[in-house]
């Protein structure tokens, strides 16, 4: 058990190391990221918005270690006040992640990232760098309700760790 030194203790000294097997997800930081779905027609592309927390100094500011998405069943509203996408509309969405012009995750079904529907599995990322503003959500079928947002819960570590 950790000794109870001071109230705001530094978890480890600078010359200590904590080793975490890289095939497991250890949550250090997380961020609820909203993508307003403004292009709702079939084929509509909804670019990820710029974000000063996830890329304050551009791509590579943080290293992504995992992600999951939400529907209204599990999070009713996003930060902007938009409804989070319904489970029915979620089946019409795919997600593409981009790094250096490489769409390394291409049109991944949104519902495949809902951990509650996938036995609780949280998709890992191997400390990936992602071009946030080049990544996007595609609407694969018409009839998406207006004023909805997709929500990704990113897990990441600052890149200097």
């Amino acid at each position: 058990m950790q000794t109870k030194a001071n109230k705001y203790r530094t978890p480890v000294s600078k010359d200590s190391q904590i080793i975490i097997p890289r095939n497991d997800l250890s949550i250090d930081c997380s961020y609820q990221f909203e993508i307003p779905l403004t292009n709702t027609g079939q084929g509509g592309k909804n670019q990820f918005p710029r974000n000063d927390i996830l890329n304050p100094k551009g791509t590579g500011s943080v290293l992504f270690t995992g992600w999951e998405v939400y529907t209204r069943d599990f999070l009713v509203r996003a930060e902007s006040g938009n409804n989070v996408v319904t489970p029915a509309d979620a089946t019409k969405l795919t997600v593409t992640l981009v790094f250096k012009e490489d769409e390394f995750v291409y049109q991944f079904p949104y519902i495949g990232l809902i951990s509650a529907l996938n036995y609780g599995m949280i998709r890992r990322l191997d400390r990936k760098q992602i071009d946030i503003t080049k990544s996007y959500i595609t609407v694969m079928d018409a009839g998406l309700a207006a004023s909805q947002s997709a929500v990704i819960n990113w897990f990441f570590i600052p890149s200097n760790q």
């Binding site: 904590i18 097997p21 997380s30 609820q32 509650a116 036995y119």
Partner: protein
């Protein structure tokens, strides 16, 4: 601890310590655009947090009891539907500054009934500056209301 290599065995986590932390809301109710801070807790502040669960009441599946009495007051446990209206931000203090580690994480993430996976944490939480927010009101849960958290630490 200095000059030491610590290997965290995250494949088979061992439960060392745990306790419930209750977020309580009185009859005045809740609102959006407001932060509801955790009470300061020494165990959370002085140890590594290795697990976090949140519970709700459901009459169809075991979870938390429908009512929980704390400090002589009986609270109604938040329902599953209302849990989806809540997000939590866990903070830490680094060099005297409050830093958000988990920002607006949906409380549904901490439901253990949805998952066989147990996310691991390496969090140094500052309990008194961590907080909940409600993304939508009104709530269906009758007041006074309680949200049970279960923290594990090393």
């Amino acid at each position: 601890m200095s000059g030491k290599v610590v290997v965290l065995d995250l494949v088979k986590p061992v439960l060392h310590n745990s306790k419930p932390i209750y977020m309580r809301f009185d009859v005045a109710g809740v609102s959006t655009n407001k932060k509801y801070f955790f009470e300061r807790d020494q165990d959370l502040d002085e140890n590594w947090i290795t697990g976090i669960d949140a519970a709700y009441y459901s009459n169809t599946a075991w979870n938390a009891p429908q009512q929980i009495t704390v400090g002589g007051v009986t609270y109604n446990t938040i329902t599953q539907a209302d849990l989806a209206k809540v997000v939590v931000s866990f903070t830490t203090v680094e060099k005297g500054k409050v830093k958000i580690k988990m920002r607006k994480c949906p409380l549904s993430f901490f439901r253990r009934d949805l998952t066989s996976e147990r996310p691991r944490y390496t969090l140094a939480i500052d309990s008194g500056s961590s907080y909940l927010e409600f993304m939508e009101t009104p709530l269906a849960t009758a007041l006074p209301m309680i949200i049970p958290f279960y923290f594990c630490w090393d």
